[in-house]
């Protein structure tokens, strides 16, 4: 709030509003996040075993599992299913790599109407950009700490 309006800020009212806030169902949310997140990871692990039998190993195996999960994340986003899962699962479907795929694919789809360059391509990272920037940044910090200890 600026200038004269700062004094209008009604702290009593804000306290009253906060008291009325419907409670977030932490237990239920955590449970569904655990269930869905766990399921996605189990599918990943299953793919790992299967591809291991098929003869892949090391980086190739890790890469192949990620690619398959990303593919299904994007596919479910395109089919309009992933947002329904995410609405209930919360972090359970946001944190795994499928959630990252969803955060790239959904703005790409949304802004397609503005063209493939200024829409899809330019807006693709509106959500994921923050994840990439701070992911890389915290990676660097952790790397520096690791170097010294």
């Amino acid at each position: 709030m600026t200038g004269k309006n700062a004094q209008n800020c009604n702290t009593n009212y804000l306290r009253y509003v906060r008291a009325l806030d419907p409670p977030t169902k932490h237990f239920k949310n955590c449970l569904s996040a655990f269930g869905v997140g766990g399921l996605i990871c189990t599918i990943g692990q299953f793919l790992r075993y299967m591809l291991g039998f098929a003869g892949l190993s090391g980086d190739e195996l890790a890469g192949a599992v990620s690619v398959i999960l990303i593919f299904f994340g994007c596919l479910l986003t395109g089919l309009g299913v992933y947002d329904r899962i995410g609405r209930h699962a919360g972090a359970g479907s946001i944190v795994p790599i499928t959630g990252f795929a969803n955060s790239v694919a959904s703005p790409a789809l949304e802004f397609r109407t503005e063209g493939y360059i200024y829409g899809t391509a330019a807006k693709m990272f509106t959500v994921a950009g923050a994840i990439i920037v701070y992911g890389v940044f915290s990676g660097v910090i952790v790397g520096i700490i690791y170097y010294f200890i």
């Binding site: 977030t24 699962a89 959630g99």
Partner: protein, 340 residues
């Protein structure tokens, strides 16, 4: 005539005709059977949601003009606005018509603002027939104000669901069953709520301010009305409004109705109910005007509420200034009309 911030229309401008279009989720609710067109496909046969919103608004306007047995040439001006940047839906819809256009922006209170201005133009003798219209679309509002549709994020329990729909009415100098008696101009109120997911709490003080000034200026009491209709406060905002009014000595709980609270039948992802410019536009132009035309509701006070924020202001941590304009409506029908 003017007293305080309330305009009294001596000539009693009438609502000649009205039309509403609503989306697939809305037609499941109470307004489904009252709306003129209900969409099974929220794209409305268009390639983008913005075009669909524009088409809904345009069709609602032409339908209202048609139902009033008027042609484009009879309309003096169209007053309209919507939620999108640069009010593109309203101005793009206006290119389909031959009459002049005045663009308004008052967020979700556009319906009452446009009715108020139309009544003032007619009361002042500057126009005979005016169109007041507005609309919104869930998908286009989501894209502008929140996240991409397909992004898998959770909605907080305070949040509301933008209504897909458009409503239009023709306000006329002499013909019509519903008269506009007076209207109170809104003041922008900001009590410091900055949570963009809690619009009801942000808008309730503006609604309370307008209603109280309306009661003071007109000397009426809440019990004089069959219905006090607010725009899109939602369940939480309605509760806050009742508390705020109670504190000032007005008990509106027996006859208060909120368009956002009543529009959806099953509360699933909508949580607190509907919001958006289309919310009050659709409910008023279908359910409430139909009931008023039939004489089932005699006297209705309509106060739509709007949150005047943008993604830039909320990103910069500003609180949410809100506004509410009130319009008092009287049914001239004798009450013998067959219940629809």
């Amino acid at each position: 005539m003017k007293k305080g911030n309330t305009l009294f229309f001596k000539t009693r401008p009438r609502i000649r005709s009205y039309a509403a279009i609503c989306g697939s989720k809305e037609r499941e609710g109470v307004i489904g059977e009252y709306a003129d067109i209900t969409l099974s496909d929220d794209m409305y046969g268009e390639s983008t949601y913005e075009k669909a919103e524009c088409k809904m608004l345009s069709n609602a306007i032409s339908l209202a003009v048609e139902k009033g047995a008027l042609t484009d040439g009879d309309i003096d001006v169209m007053l309209s606005g919507d939620l999108l940047n640069q009010i593109i839906s309203a101005s793009f819809a206006a290119r389909d018509f031959q009459f002049p256009f005045l663009g308004l922006y008052s967020a979700c209170s556009t319906m009452s603002e446009s009715m108020l201005l139309a009544a003032a133009l007619i009361g002042g003798g500057f126009a005979r027939n005016c169109v007041a219209a507005t609309g919104s679309h869930f998908a286009s509002a989501e894209r502008q104000y929140r996240y991409p549709l397909e992004l898998g994020c959770t909605r907080p329990p305070q949040s509301q669901w933008t209504v897909t729909g458009a409503g239009a009415c023709v306000i006329s100098a002499d013909v019509g069953d519903i008269a506009i008696l007076n209207a109170t101009l809104g003041r922008v109120r900001d009590w410091g709520v900055s949570d963009v997911n809690n619009m009801g709490a942000a808008m309730a003080p503006a609604a309370a301010d307008t209603l109280i000034r309306h009661f003071k200026d007109t000397g009426e009491q809440p019990s004089d009305f069959d219905m006090i209709v607010t725009g899109d406060l939602g369940a939480l905002g309605s509760r806050i409004l009742k508390d705020l009014m109670w504190e000032k000595g007005y008990d509106i709980s027996p006859n208060h109705v909120d368009c956002g609270e009543m529009i959806y039948k099953v509360i699933e992802d909508e949580f607190q109910g509907g919001s958006g410019a289309g919310c009050s536009a659709v409910v008023m132009n279908s359910y409430i005007f139909t009931k008023m035309s039939a004489g089932l509701y005699k006297r209705v006070l309509f106060a739509a509420t709007g949150a005047l924020l943008s993604t830039v202001s909320s990103g910069q941590g500003e609180s949410i200034p809100c506004i509410s304009h009130a319009v008092e409506l009287l049914s001239l029908s004798n009450g013998n009309g067959a219940a629809p």
